[in-house]
């Protein structure tokens, strides 16, 4: 069959790229080969637009065992314990079919983690929807939430944290990012690098169907124009099979049978085999007639491009086949030797003994295109928001407006649909700054959180990039964890657009600066471009997933006030920055100004000092101040605890709105017992930390001297009604 322009285009390849393929192959590819190139060279697999920028991220540190480049990042938490984690997007599939899209997103990221020998111990997610009034939002929200729950609950891994945001920028393109965190022994981590020639390549897991064959579907329309059944089919998640696959893999990982293992994610069999061969500088030969198929008459093209879920590729040590087969049989899973490693450095595909395609591995991997895309950097605006422009508003009314808004309402409606407790190590669930998961059978625990700030990133990508890292860092500190490393999911618009590429580069620059300064390296991540329609791209939405360590888990500090009449301290300087604030957005529908600046020196100093106070058991409760400012943070502490508070009016206050709603960064609220106050103040002073005593806890009422006094039960109700009425 002749490769026409149209076929090339339908495979998402540029003509230039096709010429490059011809050069690398020294001949024309056939359709199967073309399909494989299209799968490996697309943005998703090749990172062709992002690679140059990603390289700049800090990825090393004493705590890092494995940085980006493997299925997931790995960090050291001491005593031979490692944490394996990664975040990944499933945006486009979730928009088409929210339940299955979100579910398979969770399934995919779990495989990335257990491929490395880790038992997954927590799931997180960051989900972004269009405006609540948009006709599609409600069913997308419903579908995504039940899809995330449906998968995680069934496989039995707690979904412990996440974020849910609404913004009309996602009207036509929602974001569904899922993060998985696993625990492994440092000396039993598995990688995807093939070693040795003539080793068995084994296919395990579910059968291969015609799921998600993208370019394929299009091209096959050429063969059979009127065949409806050949449309790409949506991937359906099967968490039950994944559970079996998880247990079977972990069982096989107890000894040294495995040389290399790789899940079949995007571009399925193609990318998994190419990646393993490429990392090992080897070749791989597959006999495709042996691939377990779900449908009749599947072609090599379909098998290589299928994205059926719950499958893995394993390279086995000699003589381990029977042992391994027995394990997979026990778990009722397919186990088939479908090929072997070779020294040809080629991907060789046979069907009924006849070679159907042969491609040099490096053409697919190291020689895949890399683009230094044109970019324009945004000039950061200098406009300062003048609140006098806006009408007078009562503090209480503004607070209520925020507490009852979709973005700031309690997310119980969502989190109650997730099993957060299974595995019995969840010491702190969603709703806190970070979730805490105990390491099974140990005293220590990890804290995890995901964060993003699309509005900030849009207004000033560089500052926004720094801010999300810092906010994530703060969230871990606030629960008493030492932040160790992050994963990131970079959700952006079309990279061929200079402005978008500029946003990308700047956000990344911001992430880099913050990570470097805080010694908070990036160990894994994912890039999702082309979010939005050609004319309307989404706001730049990088998402940060962070992991921190709690050396000894005693009763964890939380953001909930603990007792009456303790002192409330605000750590960090308040300037009253209202640009891009949630106060302006929720009360006046204004999105304007610069986001708050990040001062990395203060950030680090404040954070480390707060962590020390928590570690010394000097703090009753702690909460970081973020979106919504001081007042929102205070109300969250009160609502969560059923205790009220009184903020005393300070003579130096210039403007109450700025003071209470300003979103200055690097701040924390601490609740301190009176008899520990002097000591706490001494420590804060010794580190040169700016702090103010702003009030004390009291019964029942959320009170600001002379301004408002509201029953916290009422605030609770206000905060809990939106989802139930939606």
């Amino acid at each position: 069959m002749e490769i026409t322009k149209k076929i090339i285009e339908k495979h998402g390849l540029k003509l230039e790229e096709y010429k490059n393929i011809q050069k690398l192959m020294r001949r024309d590819p056939n359709l199967l080969e073309l399909g494989i190139f299209s799968a490996m060279w697309n943005e998703h697999c090749s990172y062709k637009s992002s690679r140059l920028h990603l390289k700049k991220l800090p990825t090393t540190g004493n705590q890092v065992i494995q940085g980006p480049g493997e299925n997931a990042g790995v960090i050291d938490i001491g005593d031979n314990d490692a944490i394996v984690f990664k975040i990944e997007s499933h945006n486009h599939p979730s928009y088409i079919e929210p339940y299955q899209g979100a579910a398979t997103g969770v399934g995919g990221i779990l495989r990335d983690v257990f491929t490395m020998g880790a038992r997954p111990i927590a799931l997180l997610n960051s989900i972004h929807f269009g405006s609540p009034e948009h006709p599609k939002t409600k069913s997308l929200l419903n579908g995504v939430v039940s899809g995330i729950g449906g998968y995680g609950n069934c496989i039995g891994i707690p979904t412990v944290a996440g974020e849910t945001k609404f913004n009309e920028t996602y009207n036509e393109n929602i974001l569904v990012n899922a993060m998985a965190v696993g625990h492994a022994k440092i000396d039993r981590i598995f990688y995807s690098k093939a070693k040795g020639v003539g080793k068995a390549v084994v296919y395990v897991g579910s059968k291969t169907g015609r799921d998600g064959i993208h370019g394929a579907s299009m091209a096959s329309a050429e063969f059979d124009e009127n065949s409806d059944e050949k449309k790409p089919t949506v991937q359906v998640g099967d968490p039950f099979t994944e559970k079996l696959l998880l247990e079977a893999c972990l069982e096989l990982m107890r000894d040294d049978s495995i040389i290399a293992i790789q899940d079949m994610g995007a571009a399925g069999l193609t990318s998994s085999s190419v990646e393993m061969a490429s990392k090992g500088s080897l070749g791989i030969e597959l006999e495709l007639d042996k691939v377990p198929c779900r449908e009749e008459n599947m072609t090599p093209y379909e098998m290589m491009l299928s994205e059926s879920q719950e499958r893995m590729l394993i390279i086995l040590e000699d003589g381990k086949e029977d042992h391994a087969r027995k394990i997979f049989k026990k778990w009722d899973l397919d186990f088939v030797v479908i090929g072997k490693t070779t020294n040809t450095k080629k991907l060789t595909l046979k069907f009924n003994k006849v070679i159907q395609g042969e491609i040099p591995i490096d053409a697919l991997a190291s020689k895949a295109p890399v683009y230094d895309r044109k970019l324009v950097r945004k000039k950061s605006s200098n406009s300062k928001v003048d609140i006098k422009k806006f009408g007078k508003i009562k503090i209480e009314d503004a607070l209520i407006k925020i507490l009852s808004s979709p973005n700031h309402s309690s997310k119980n409606w969502i989190t109650e649909q997730y099993d957060q407790m299974v595995m019995c190590d969840t010491a702190k669930k969603s709703g806190s700054d970070a979730a805490i998961i105990r390491i099974h059978n140990k005293d220590k625990a990890i804290a995890v959180s995901v964060d993003s700030s699309a509005n900030y990133c849009k207004a000033d990508p560089l500052t926004g990039g720094k801010q999300i890292v810092c906010e994530n860092w703060r969230n871990l500190i606030a629960v008493g964890a030492k932040p160790l490393a992050i994963t990131n999911c970079l959700n952006f618009g079309n990279p061929e657009n200079k402005v978008i590429m500029g946003e990308f580069a700047d956000c990344l620059e911001g992430i880099k600066k913050a990570c470097e300064f805080l010694n908070y390296p990036v160990v894994s991540g994912n890039v999702s471009f082309y979010n939005g329609t050609n004319k309307k791209n989404i706001f730049p939405t990088p998402v940060i997933g962070g992991v921190g360590l709690i050396k000894k888990l005693s009763e964890p500090v939380s953001h909930k006030f603990k007792e009456l009449n303790s002192v409330i301290i605000l750590v960090g300087k308040t300037f009253g920055h209202l640009g891009q604030s949630c106060f302006l957005k929720e009360n006046f529908s204004v999105i304007d100004g610069k986001p708050p600046e990040i001062n990395l020196i203060n950030e680090k100093n404040n954070g480390e000092t707060v962590l020390e106070l928590i570690n010394q058991n000097l703090i009753n409760s702690a909460h970081d101040v973020s979106n919504g400012g001081l007042i929102l943070a205070l109300s969250e502490m009160a609502i969560g605890s059923n205790l009220g508070l009184k903020v005393e009016k300070n003579k130096n206050l210039r403007n109450l709105i700025e003071f209470f709603f300003g979103e200055d960064q690097g701040r924390y609220i601490l609740e301190v017992k009176r008899n520990k106050l002097a000591y706490v103040e001494k420590i804060l002073k010794s580190y040169n930390i700016h702090f103010e005593k702003i009030g004390f806890t009291q019964k029942k009422y959320f009170e600001i001297e002379g301004e408002m006094k509201t029953d916290i039960n009422d605030l609770f109700k206000i905060n809990n009604q939106w989802y139930n009425n939606y």
């Binding site: 088409i96 079919e97 339940y99 299955q100 579910s206 169907g209 015609r210 799921d211 059944e229 089919t233 949506v234 991937q235 359906v236 998640g237 099967d238 039950f240 099979t241 779900r294 449908e295 059926s308 879920q309 009722d332």
Partner: protein
Amino acid sequence: MKFSVTVTLKKDVLDPQGKVVQNTLINLGLDNLKEIRQGKYFEIEIDEKDQNTAKKKIDLMCKKLLANLIIENYKISKL
């Protein structure tokens, strides 16, 4: 007026439930089973005299709620 609606997964869409049910039945000794696929079934009673109008309404229900047209087909029959 009463109708039945059956909603089935499109061909080539994975049916995890059907697969497990099939294996179980085979393990229970029902071995000449070739394939089983699982779908949904609805019995709908509607207050409507005209059969055509009624059917149209049911069709709308299917499209709006009962079936997920991306992965499912549906069929309406008069009961």
